[in-house]
Subunit: 227 residues, 2 copies
Amino acid sequence: MSPRSPAIAPRRARDADARAYHHGDLRNALLAHARTMLERDGPEAVSLRAVARAAGVSQTAPYKHFASKDDLLATIAGDGFLELAASQRVIADAQDTAAERLVLLGRDYVGFATTTPQRYRLMFGAGGIDWRAHPPVAEAKAGSFTPVKDVIAEHLAGERLASGARAEVAAIATWALVHGLSMLLVDRTLHADEQGGEHALVGAVLEEHVAGLGSQASRRGAAAAVR
Amino acid sequence: MSPRSPAIAPRRARDADARAYHHGDLRNALLAHARTMLERDGPEAVSLRAVARAAGVSQTAPYKHFASKDDLLATIAGDGFLELAASQRVIADAQDTAAERLVLLGRDYVGFATTTPQRYRLMFGAGGIDWRAHPPVAEAKAGSFTPVKDVIAEHLAGERLASGARAEVAAIATWALVHGLSMLLVDRTLHADEQGGEHALVGAVLEEHVAGLGSQASRRGAAAAVR
DNA sequence: GCTTGATGTTAACAGTGATTACTTGGAGGT
DNA sequence: ACCTCCAAGTAATCACTGTTAACATCAAGC
């Protein structure tokens, strides 16, 4: 994201007086204030004018850096997906068992969601913005899912009956499970502290899921589902 | 929901002229138009004024029937949760195996979500309304989860090691799985037709999950998660 | 038949996203 | 050293939103 950030900052030559006519780094300042307001009030309550006020500029100044309010939010969401993807990639490439990495991936995913819950909500549709209208965001979103998909494939590689379709289903199920858990926590439908804390809850749910993935019973179940 | 609907409609005495000064059944007309616009444009784009226009009434008339826009949306969401809960209850009380009923519950749940996707988004936080500020909605929401919880408890009742905590975790995992799948379908992150259709996808995911729930492996997994 | 209260309407306020036309001032070529 | 150009700021304005206050209407009950 942040496509046009110049390699070397051409402004802010004088270092002292921050309040020139030209702001110096308004784009990033706007993003920072928007992120703060996003996490405080939620995506629906973020106002471009309020962001501009917080940055100390006129209400139309943001339009020199973002085509629209949606464009600003898309930048934040896209950065979020890239951040998530990078974090997941590191875990996926670690040395542990595939099963262990799956649990770690799940913990990391849910942790990402609960650390910046409003951003997570934004990333998954809460502002009513369709990322298909913002291709870089759509790409980053898809990319954030590939580490899980890879590790699932690896986890099921040693199995008989391990068709590609089965790995695909298992990957979708895992994503759905972790995403659903994140959503229920983020919108406060579930309260982690009533379930022994996030660590214990995510651990219990994921260990059960991953163990089930490899079991004889789940193979029978998956086979039965085809009919 | 819809608390104050009179037992017998006291107006619309003359049946012909629909355009009296008093609308006759404005409350329900507003709800109907709101539902239509909700499903067409999403919760974020629903405007109380547009709803009023659609009903052919002044923009402040809705305030005689709803305290605020959020109140109108809360009514729709609450009705949605009641509808979902009723449908789930019927399946939970059917004659099939607990395992079979779990799959049917999942199908029903995902079907509910994908039939009226924008309403489902509204019910789960899109629109930025916190149902804790609308107690009847919060109750209806909690109630829509109990059928699954009951059947999970029943499913695990025959097991050794079947502590209440384990059933609780399994219920949460199941809810998260089905809710996550619904969300991914509803916000078009996933496309059911690329996965063999919704029926096949939900079937595959749920059969695998339910089979895993009862397996030896999942018991080992759940035990391991405690550490 | 008069009063009353629920159900409408009109007018207004503050806040929003966005567009247009303007000003400013720093960077680079001559 | 100057001068031009254009990215990055501003002010004014439009259409729209949620919400409130004050006023109008009409059906029903005493």
